[in-house]
Amino acid sequence: MSNLQAVFLAETEELISTLESALLEFERDLSNLRTVENIFRVMHTIKGSASMFGYENLSNITHHLETIFDDIRAYKRQADLQILEITFRTVDHIKSVLRDPDLSQSENKIRQEQLLANIHLMVQQKDVRTSGPVFADSTAVINTYYIFFRPAEGIFRSGNNPLFLIDDLATLGKAIVVPIFRDALFSDNAQADLCYTEFEVVLAGGMTEDDIRDVFLFVSDTADIQIRHIAEGDLLNDLSFSSAFGNREQIPRTAFGYGIVASMVGAVQAKSTMSSVVAADVDRLGQSTSIRVSSTKLDELMNLVSELVTSQARLMLIAEQKGMPDLNAVSENIEKITRRLRDNAFSICLVPIEAVVTRYQRLIRDLSKELSKEVVFTTSGTETELDKSLIEKITDPILHLLRNCMDHGIETPEARRARGKKKEGTIHLKAYHSGTYVHIEISDDGKGIDPARVRSKAINKGLIREDAVLSDADIIELIFSPGFSTADIITDVSGRGVGMDVVRRNIEAVHGEVFVESKLNEGTQFTIRLPLTLSIMDGMLVKIASSDYIIPLAAVDKCFEVETRSLNGDCSQRLVLDGNLVPVFNLRNVFDEERSGLPITQVVKLNCEAFPVGITVDAIVGEYQAVMKPLGDMYQSQDEFSGATILGDGSVALVVDPSRFIRQLLSKSNIENLNKN
C-alpha cells in the first residue's frame, strides 16, 4: 500500500468517526442545522478524497447521500428518522467498502446497490419544506447568551421603557425572560415612577453580542447589563435547561446570576453526553496547530527514549564509580533532561478516552434498538488520558462490558416499570486518574447480578462444589471464570463465545485489573484499573539477598529501619509502624532466601490495598526510572512481577506489581493462619 493511500485510509477512518458522532448529535436534535452542516461537510470531504484515490464506489454512494443533506441545509427537505437510519446504514457500508473498494465481495456489492436504490428513492421523494426556516439566517451560527439587565431606577424619567428593550431583545431570537421584582418594590418607600424590576434572559439565535448590546444602546451607561455567551447552538432546545431557568416560584426576588446559570449549562452539557462536546472539539482541533504522526514513529520515539533512560542509568553508575565531580554534574543534568524528555514523549502518546466514546455510543444506540430497551448513556471524565496502546487494548473489553450491561443488566421498559424504575435505563461510563492508575467505571441501574443464580450456574458447570462456602462477592466474581455465562438463552449480543473470562484476561494482559460490584435490582458496576503507561515507571530500587527489585514509587508510603533480630523469620508477622500494627511480610522468607545476616532490615510500607502492608528488604538503593521489559511467556504464572528492567550495570531487576503481590501474600498468610488454627 502506498504511503499516500495509508494516509487516505487513516484520514477517512477518522472522518467516519467524526461523522458518526455528528449523526448521533443529529439524532437528538433533527432541527439543528449546524449538525447538518457538519455532516454535509464531512461527507463532502470523504467523497472528494475517495474519488482522488480511486475509491469510485465509495465516492459514488457518498455523493448521493450527501445530496440529501445538501437539501436539508438548503431548506429543501425536512430531516427525519428515515434519513438518519439510511445514513447510519450507509456509514456502516462505507466502512466495509474501505476494505473492499472494488466490491469484490458479493454482499458488499448487493448492499451498495440496495442502498443506492434507497437513497435515490429518498432524493426523489423529498417533500418541499413548507414551513419557513427555523432561524432567519441559515448561514448564521446559533449561539445561546445569558443577559442580565437591571435598569437604573430612574429609567422612566429618561423616557425609556425597559419592557420595550426586553421586547426588542426577544425579537432577535428565541428568548426566555424572567422578570425579577427587587425587594424595594414591596417597601413602603417605593415610588411609582421608579423602576424596581430587573430581568434575566436566555437568548438563542444567530445574533452576535453586538446585536444584543445595540438593544441597550440608550441605557448602556445607566443600567447594569451583563451579556455572557453560555453555549454554542440552541440551549433552549434542552428542556431540562429551559424549564430549570424559566419555571421559578411566582416572580422571583433575586436573579440566578451568571454563575448559577453557567453551572446549569455545565450540568446540561455533562448530562447530554459527550458527543456535542466532541463535535466542538473537532472544530477547535481544526484551528489548533496539530500534525498527524504515524503511530510507528511514536513507538520508535518511545523505544529510543527507553534506550536513553537505560543508557543514562549506566552513565550515572559510571559517574558515581569514577568519583569525578564534573562527570557527576553532567550525568545529573542528563538525568533531568532524560526525565523531561520521557514525560514529554509519554504525553504525546496519551489519548483522551473520549476518542473511543463514539464507538460506545453507537453500540448502545444499536443495541437498544435491537433489544428494544431504552437506555440513556452518559459519560464523565472522558477527557482522562491514557496511553494510546492501552486504549487500543481496552476498547474491546469495554465494548464487551457495555454489551453485557445492555444484555444482562438493563431490563426491558416493561420490566423496569413493573419494578418502579424509570423506563429508560442508565449506563454511565466514568473515567478518572488515581495515583499512577486510571480507573474506568461502567455502571448500570439494571437488575444487578443475582448471586443465587450465579451460584447454581457455577455448580452446574462444575466450577464450585455444591457445599462451597462463599460470600456473595466471591460468588459474583465467578462470572469471570472461564466457561461461565449467566444468559439462559444465548443471545446475539453477549452470549457469543466471548465470556467475561476473556474480558478479564485481556485487561490483565495490559497489567490492568477488573472488579465487579453488584446489588440485586439496583445495578452493577464494573471497575477497570489500568496503569498509566506500560513502558517506563518511576520506581524504588531495593535489594533482597543478591537480587535487585523495583517497587513502583507510587505504591511506597514510607520506609522504616528495624533490627533484623526483631524479625522472627516467619513469612509474616505484625510490627508497630508509626503507632499502628501493620502486617509485615519477610521477603527473604517469601522468596526462599536465607535469613538475613545484616543487623538492620528495611521495612517498606506500601499502600495499595484497603490497609497498609509492610515488606522487608535488605537495602534501599534509591529511585530508579524503570524501562519495563516483559518477563515473557515462560514466567506467565509469576504475575506478582509486572516485568523486569535493565540496571545500569547491565543486570536485570524484577519489577514488583504491588497490588497483585500483596494479594498473593495475604491469601498465602491466610492459608498459613488457617493451618495453624
Partner: protein, 169 residues
C-alpha cells in the same frame, strides 16, 4: 556415481555430565558465556531466572534439571545456548544452561537412528533421533518440545530426578 549425494545437516553438540546431546544449528542463535542470572522467586527450579540479552529479558532454563541431573556448581565451561523455539506457532527465545558446548557436527541424516522407544531414560517425544558419535550415542533433541514443556524433567516415569544411572547400562 552415487544416486544421491549424502544429505547432511549441521548439529551443535553439548554436554551435560558425560552425555552428549545435539540440536540443529537452525535453532541456535548464539552461545553466551555465563553471566549473572537474576532469579525469579517462586518459579519452578528448572527456571534459573532471566538475563539481559542486549536489552531484552531472556529466560534461562537449567538443562541439567530438565534432564534429571544433579545440581552442580557452574564452571568456566558452563554456557548459555540462546535458542529459538516454537510453542503453538509462536516463536520464543530462551536460554538453555548447559555444562559445555562441544562442536558443530555435520550429520548425514541417513545415519540418524530413531530414538529407542524402550531402554531410553527420556520420553521419546523429546528425542528426534540419535547418531553414533566417536564412541558414544548423541541424542538429537527436539528443543522446542524440551524447553517449552512445563514438566520439570523430560525423564520417563520411574527415573527419579537426580538418578544418574541408566538401566540399560
Amino acid at each position: 556415481m552415487e544416486l544421491a549425494s549424502a544429505v547432511t545437516q549441521s548439529y551443535l553438540t553439548f554436554r551435560l555430565d558425560d552425555e552428549l546431546f545435539a540440536t540443529s544449528v537452525i535453532n541456535v542463535i548464539e552461545i553466551l558465556e555465563l553471566t549473572r542470572i537474576t532469579k525469579v522467586p517462586r518459579s519452578p527450579s528448572f527456571m534459573r531466572g532471566v538475563i539481559n540479552l542486549r536489552g531484552t529479558v531472556l529466560p534461562v532454563i537449567d538443562a541439567r534439571q530438565k534432564f534429571g541431573l544433579d545440581k552442580t556448581p557452574d564452571t568456566v565451561n558452563t554456557c548459555i545456548l540462546v535458542l529459538n523455539i516454537q510453542i503453538d506457532n509462536e516463536k520464543l527465545t530462551v536460554g538453555a544452561l548447559v555444562d559445555a558446548v562441544q562442536e558443530v557436527l555435520d550429520i548425514d541424516i541417513s545415519t540418524i537412528q530413531p530414538a529407542p522407544s524402550i531402554g531410553s531414560r527420556y520420553k521419546s517425544e523429546f528425542i528426534d533421533g540419535m547418531v553414533k558419535g566417536n564412541d558414544k550415542f548423541i541424542m538429537l533433541l527436539n528443543v522446542s518440545k524440551v524447553f517449552s514443556s512445563e514438566e520439570v524433567s523430560i525423564l520417563k516415569e520411574g527415573y527419579d530426578m537426580g538418578e544418574n544411572t541408566s538401566i540399560n547400562q
